[in-house]
Subunit: 197 residues, 2 copies
Amino acid sequence: MKSLDRFVRALRRLPGVGPRQAERFAAYFLRASQGETEEFITALSSLKEDIKLCRVCFAYSETDICALCADASRDHSQICVVEDPQDIEAIEKTGAYKGLYHVLHGAISPLDGKSAEHVKVRELLARVQQAQPPIREIILATDPDNEGETTALYLADLLRGQVEQITRIGYGVPLGGDIDYMDEMTLGYSLKGRTKI
Amino acid sequence: MKSLDRFVRALRRLPGVGPRQAERFAAYFLRASQGETEEFITALSSLKEDIKLCRVCFAYSETDICALCADASRDHSQICVVEDPQDIEAIEKTGAYKGLYHVLHGAISPLDGKSAEHVKVRELLARVQQAQPPIREIILATDPDNEGETTALYLADLLRGQVEQITRIGYGVPLGGDIDYMDEMTLGYSLKGRTKI
């Protein structure tokens, strides 16, 4: 059935969707009422129409400048650099950060042919150089994986001297984790990063 | 952001999609080109327009009667009863079956308030009673879980005397499985269902 195969192919482009899940999603839509399907299509269309990237930090925004960048009560001398727009929400939920963000939209990954030009690095540098008041701290909150590490090291080199301090998020054992099941790298970092209690 | 929340809510209705995956899907569409998004919407719309249920067996079909039911080379005296349309493809892939199918679109589940009237049981009975040539065998291939078992037992009672034989798919250890990790019920069935080699 051509229409089914075509939709399953379209679903397979979604991140992490395998053949089974794509078929289950297609089955959901085949069972769904016309109204439900139309609501889905309308929601998707408005998403594409209404949401753009903030001109300053490249987070998702319905306005030219996002709510966080426009918020005078936030600390405008701190920028937390993240890979993806979703990372912002995760950090906001902690309540531990009151500065601004910068979304790279990816990480540097030489193996995948992704260099600094493929992510919003040039925009970050320009932003730091033009910032008034000047930026005091850059927090590198890229993922703790190979690409994220490479990107953090690259940015630390690039931005050195431009700001008072550059920091990297702390590594260690996650809360609720099990020491027994922790990989040795993480456990090693958690020992090196131990704090007095 | 209202448009984002609305689309995430629509995505959450897909089977098995949690908040994280819904956000990742939304991020995919936010990054996707206008062309990719339009292709997705067109594929979904044609799915809903082109695909209906076969009038005889209730499988997905682009025609009034599906390709399998219309195929004279298949054994029209055998009906394999399955819960979902996707089950047909799984069984077809085995190459071990050359008869017809009947899709119940669910299973009987008293706990969820789903009785025989909620699935295509009446249609199966009518089909069996009107079949020309008569049906020789009904294979009950509902899932090997509580609901599937209940449904198989219900159908066996209902159809007894109407066909030459009613069979249930064999239980046992799956290939590539590990005896060590198998639950005792399955292992018990696999012992009872042992065959000479």
